[in-house]
């Protein structure tokens, strides 16, 4: 099988590999994600209880309180965060959380903006590798 490489825009730099987890609805990290357990705890979210640690999280857009940045940074510090995050719309809360963790702890959770045309392909892949070391990020599937 030939591997497919897609392009995205780097919002927070880094590299990561993992199996993709497609969120059916946007998630607010504050009040929605447990940074100790690595799970979704928003009782109104359809994927309540899902384990996100080490996954490549695919979220169409950001949601919720600005305090989400702290929760994501804390999760990256603890090692309970997703390995990387791919978005369809720019989101400042997620981006800031990842950037702060990188600055404070030198732990990278790359955040990448992908194109809408690539979304379903990303969600169906067995594995996704993010290389977001420069302005244009590479997303390798398979």
């Amino acid at each position: 099988m030939t591997s497919i490489t897609l392009n995205g825009a780097t919002l927070a730099p880094g590299t990561a590999t993992g199996s993709p987890f497609l969120l059916s609805e946007p998630l607010s990290f504050w009040g929605g994600f447990d940074s100790t357990a690595g799970t979704i705890i928003d009782r109104r979210h359809p994927q309540l209880g899902s384990y996100l640690t080490g996954r490549i999280m695919l979220m169409s857009a950001g949601r919720g309180s600005c305090s989400g940045s702290s929760v994501l940074a804390e999760a990256i510090r603890r090692g309970s965060a997703p390995a990387g995050i791919i978005l369809l719309a720019r989101d400042a809360i997620v981006t800031v959380g990842a950037l702060v963790a990188a600055e404070l702890y030198q732990r990278h959770c790359p955040v990448v903006l992908a194109g809408a045309a690539d979304w379903s392909q990303l969600g169906k892949a067995d594995r996704v590798t993010i290389d977001a070391r420069s302005e244009t990020a590479e997303l390798r599937l398979g």
């Binding site: 919002l11 927070a12 504050w30 009040g31 940074s35 309180s65 600005c66 305090s67 989400g68 940045s69 702290s70 929760v71 940074a73 804390e74 510090r77 720019r90 989101d91 400042a92 809360i93 981006t95 800031v96 959380g97 950037l99 702060v100 963790a101 600055e103 404070l104 702890y105």
Partner: protein, 414 residues
């Protein structure tokens, strides 16, 4: 258009103003790119919502800036923390949480932030002015500054608020720009419930419905009681920013950018028109209570956002000759507490059975002595968040109903 940096921004990035400012500017630049701002402008003031302890990352960030020699460059007020530093005996949590909470508050002070520890910085001596460009966090403070004062801020939060304070710069986008401040949704109150003599309930109902129907779009409200006070508009904004993501509302005849409906819409037609009847307003108020009337109460909580001096002036006559049967907490700022003490009111309030809480708020930390049961509040924001945050049930009512209920120990409607 890509982000343009000017010579000041470049100097900050290059470390000319020290390593803390360079670190903060680096984060700000990446944030500005994420929100697609075109350039930076000077921030004239900042309000920081970083004092609530959400884990080690909260503290590490502030202590990292301090270790790099960071100091804020503009007048910077602080929002509530996890601890009441003036009345530490009120804290019901673990010694470890108390230590972490207090340490985070002190760490912000070390950066030169002012120890205001209030969610109502607009009712202190640091109140901004009309048209001022500011970098504020805390949803109710943001909506008040934008709407009631006409200062200009976006919904800043975690880390970014402090980066603006350390650099004195704020990305120019969103509500910093005049054309983005025009109303998109017209909420037209057609008639008010005649039984509501005081404007407070109409304002809270309108705020709740604005939050529910507008998301983050700017509403303009017509038909509000013209006697609505600044504290009524404060309550309106707080619940609108809880039920939705409202960062700016206009109220025709009441807020500075809305002398007329046309002015609030900047001459354009609103995208949506929503008519509200007296019954819609009554239903909105009823939805804020989770229990029926006459339910027993474990406590009453007032002052979310922090109770102002004017609110205490309204409260004092209601207490005359009354002894409260249950706990009654009032959250307020240090500046207000000092006036209460000077007037001899602090003693009167304590004698009536009221617990004054400063520096924090009863719905974000462990202050309430009893969490099994129902708490009554006059705050739409408290009613919205407290059940999820601290697990209590909630009843909502006017200030007068809350005091009568505190005396009766159950939900009373006057």
């Amino acid at each position: 258009m890509a982000l343009q940096l000017d010579a000041r921004d470049e100097a900050l990035l290059a470390g000319d103003e020290g390593p803390a400012a360079a670190f903060a500017m680096r984060l700000l630049r990446q944030f500005a790119e994420a929100v697609e701002a075109t350039h930076f402008i000077d921030a004239e003031a900042a309000h920081i919502d970083g004092c609530l302890y959400l884990g080690a990352a909260s503290l590490d960030f502030v202590e990292h800036l301090a270790a790099l020699g960071g100091k804020v460059r503009v007048p910077t007020t602080l929002n509530v923390g996890s601890m009441d530093l003036i009345h530490p005996e009120l804290f019901q949590g673990s010694a470890e949480s108390a230590d972490n909470g207090a340490r985070l508050m002190r760490a912000h002070e070390a950066l030169g932030c002012l120890p205001t520890f209030t969610c109502a910085p607009y009712q202190t001596m640091f109140r901004p002015r009309l048209g001022q460009q500011i970098a504020w966090a805390e949803s109710n403070a943001i909506v008040f500054a934008n709407s009631v004062i006409g200062a200009r801020t976006n919904r800043y939060g975690d880390f970014i608020d402090l980066c603006c304070a350390i650099t004195g710069r704020v990305p120019c986008y969103g509500l910093h720009i005049t054309e983005n401040r025009r109303a998109r949704v017209h909420l037209a109150i057609e008639n008010l419930p005649p039984e509501w003599q005081d404007p407070q309930l109409a304002c809270i109902a309108a705020g709740y419905l604005a939050g529910k129907s507008c998301g983050d779009r700017v509403p303009v409200i017509t038909g509000l009681p013209q006697a609505a006070s600044e504290d009524d508009l404060k309550a309106l904004g707080a619940v609108a920013a809880s039920a939705g993501a409202v960062a700016l509302f206009h109220a025709v005849g009441l807020t500075p950018e809305a002398p007329t409906l046309e002015a609030a819409c900047q001459g354009a037609a609103p995208d949506e028109h929503i008519a509200l009847t007296a019954d819609d307003l009554r239903r909105a108020i009823a939805q804020l209570s989770l229990v029926p009337d006459s339910s027993p109460l474990s406590a009453v909580s007032l002052g979310t956002p922090h109770f102002s001096l004017a609110e205490f002036e309204k409260l004092m006559p209601l207490l005359a000759g009354r002894q409260l049967a249950i706990d009654c907490f009032i959250n307020t700022g240090r500046e207000t507490l000092a006036v209460l003490t000077a007037r001899g009111w602090e003693e009167v309030l304590r004698a009536a059975g009221i617990t004054l809480v400063t520096d924090t708020c009863t719905y974000v930390t462990a202050i309430l002595r009893e969490l099994n049961g129902t708490v009554m509040t006059n705050s739409g924001k408290w009613a919205y968040y407290a059940p999820g945050n601290i697990g209590v049930s909630v009843a909502f009512g006017s200030l007068e109903d809350c005091i009568a209920s505190a005396a009766a120990g159950k939900v009373v409607r006057l």
